[in-house]
Amino acid sequence: MLDSPTATKPQSSVSPTALAVPARNRKSKSLPLGFIAGVIAVLLLAACSSSASNSTSSSSSSLPKAIKLVNIDGLTGAGAAYATYIKQGMQLAVDDINSSHYLTHSSLSMTFEDSTGSPSTAASLASQAVGKYTVVFGPNDSGSAVAVAPILARNNVPTVFTQAGSPGVLIAKNIVRLTPLQTSFVPKTLQYLESTKAKSLAVIYDSDYPTLMDEANDMKSMASKYNYKYLGSAAVLSTTSDISSAVSKLLAFHPAAIAVLLVGAQNSSLGSLLSQANFHGPVISAEGALAGLLGSKNSEANGWTWTADWNPPGTNQKSKIFTSQFEAKFHATPTLWSAEAYDAVYYAAAALKAANSTVAAKVDAALATVGANGFNGILGSHLLVRNGQEYSNGFLVRWENGGGTIVG
């Protein structure tokens, strides 16, 4: 259905010329002139039909045989776990798209560039990607995403981000973000907190992650709405390994509940420290906690609850198939980062199919159209993307004995 408008266009460009020539031919009275006109008409018709057939054929196969995509992300560094999950999701999506001939005669090839989690390296890789790749998948951490977005916007490179919830990412029409804003999940998490009857909250967060800082601020500003007292916060840097002094500061507030907005190994470290301190109150978190806890299978974090846009095996059939394919390929349970990345590649492929072209302007327009019509992905059957931003209600996920389960 998406192909039909481009398929009909060449025919309409042929017909006016074809009709006009016989009309002029009828008005001619001189034979030589008529003969010449006839020859011209035949030549014109031949030329037009030839051009029409070329045009039609080029429109039906205007996607090249190989379409080059690139993912720039921190495969090493503090956020390497997330980038690795994203890489796995993308690899699976590319394999699926190519083996199912989703793009008919075209196949996708994905290059993975390691930005090491450094915004300057990410920006340099983005500059090198301009003109070399049809679609760029940007880094998942906001700091790097903000660094690469202006480069890709300036050069009008179709760009898809997952995660990277900071302002300064969606700065042009050629950029879409296929992860709901983490801050949009805060109210759902706080509704859960309200249901636990906890009357006070203290927050520990990574101050060098803008999204986590925004969430911490939201938890402060929404305190009265969700009937708790905001006691204070303790901030650490994501490179700080020993967070015990920040945890002591946090516990000195004597909170009924704690919000954890940390990355990587800090999550499992915090689980251990809270357990040592005999803290048994509700712990709310953000989806980033999952990666930190998964590696350690930390049972000390049992009961931690957060809102996420996906949790294995998901809720729809597509999602369940994805989960089993992922487990077969990587011998591991997929995470939401892999799921989002899988959808992101399919989303870009759908845009390429709709555009039937790798010309940046056409792909940009198709990225918007696909999202406005509702994208059928594993994160949801009718995911809406407006002004480049994906929207979703999210699910409450609770950590229990080495894994997350959907609880609401």
């Binding site: 495969l75 090493t76 560094g77 503090a78 956020g79 390497a80 776990a81 997330y82 980038a83 690795t84 999950y85 101050s207 060098d208 916060s233 303790a234 901030a235 650490v236 840097l237 490179t239 700080t240 390994s241 020993d242 015990s244 002094s245 920040a246 002591s248 500061k249 516990l251 000195a252 990587g264 190994a265 999550n267 499992s268 470290s269 689980g271 251990s272 040592q276 301190a277 990666a291 930190g292 998964l294 590696g295 350690s296 299978k297 930390n298 000390e300």
Partner: protein, 308 residues
């Protein structure tokens, strides 16, 4: 310091936190400071050897399901650390020393060589774990907690403090009073004259690198258990702190190293407890700059104490 830290039990708890953090820094920095102060080898691969030791324990215990307890894991990690540093000494540092025209050139090449080596364990760990944090034992060690005037301290924390301070103090005494230690100090002052006096530089290097690697292994296991997990960047995160500790204490002074480690830890804990944690690294390193402006050779640098 205590007055700055805030409420009730938090004061004492933060003192304990600073003691544990200072001990971790001193044990880690000791592995950098000993070869640097005695053999003029700045081994920037120390952080990745620390990681490698914890990672090997993870592979054995979690992946291969070999049932290891904490002391056994520590023994494995120490052995891995000693072997890894010996290999570095044998394959890289010794060859560089042999082929360099002078000591200055050799020192520079060894720093560059160690940077190159540092990438290998990180890449391996990153590839195997996918950057995901990993536990070094199948089950975390639940060490007994002791109540101390409202604060708490675990057996693991007591072990970290005792082992770290004990090892650094013992090493400082060994370097100062033992025959081998005097040999090391002689090499540090003038390697050529030391070798004319019959002190084997190769043997001394092997001993120093072995001790350095062993402490990296011990630190990897203790720190990995204390934090509940490690990740591929854990060693690199500590490397800058370890380097700062050695410089502040004064290169060549193990007593200075101990003071530098606790000074940095106290600075970090006070900043975290009293301000937003955003300032922790900034204020701590600003303090280091102030110390170095006042005492360019570090707290116990050459101006006051020659070599340990």
């Amino acid at each position: 310091m205590v007055g700055l830290l805030g409420r009730d039990f938090e004061k004492l708890q933060q003192v304990i936190n600073a003691a544990v953090l200072g001990s971790i820094y001193s044990l880690f920095a000791f592995g950098i400071g000993l070869p640097w102060g005695t053999m003029n080898v700045l081994n920037l691969a120390h952080g990745s050897i620390f990681l490698l030791c914890g990672f090997i324990c993870y592979v054995l215990s979690v992946k291969a399901r070999v049932p290891l307890n904490l002391p056994e894991a520590a023994a494995v990690a120490i052995a891995v650390g000693v072997c890894a540093d010996w290999l570095i000494e044998l394959i890289v540092f010794r060859q560089i020393r042999r082929r360099s025209s002078n000591d200055g050139e050799a020192q520079l090449l060894m720093v560059i060589g160690s940077v190159g080596i540092a990438g290998i364990p990180i890449a391996i760990a990153n590839n195997v774990t996918g950057g995901v944090p990993f536990m070094i034992l199948q089950q975390p060690t639940h060490s007994r907690e002791h109540e101390l005037f409202g604060a708490s301290i675990s057996n693991l924390e007591i072990s970290i403090i005792a082992l770290s301070v004990g090892i650094v103090v013992a090493a400082a005494l060994w370097v100062r009073f033992s025959r081998h230690g005097r040999g090391l100090r002689a090499i540090a002052v003038d390697p050529e004259i030391a070798s004319l006096m019959g002190i084997s530089r190769s043997r001394a290097s092997a001993i120093v690198m072995g001790i350095s690697g062993g402490t990296a292994g011990l630190a990897g296991v203790l720190f990995g258990e204390y934090l509940a997990s490690l990740q591929s960047t854990s060693g690199e995160d500590l490397l800058l702190k370890g380097f700062a500790v050695v410089v502040v204490g004064g290169v060549g002074s193990l007593w200075g190293l101990l003071v530098g480690a606790f000074a940095l830890a106290v600075g970090e804990v006070v900043v975290t407890a009293t301000t937003s944690g955003v300032w922790t690294d900034g204020v701590s390193f600003a303090l280091i700059i102030v110390i170095l402006l006042l005492r360019p050779n570090g707290i116990f640098g050459r101006a006051t104490v020659d070599r340990t």
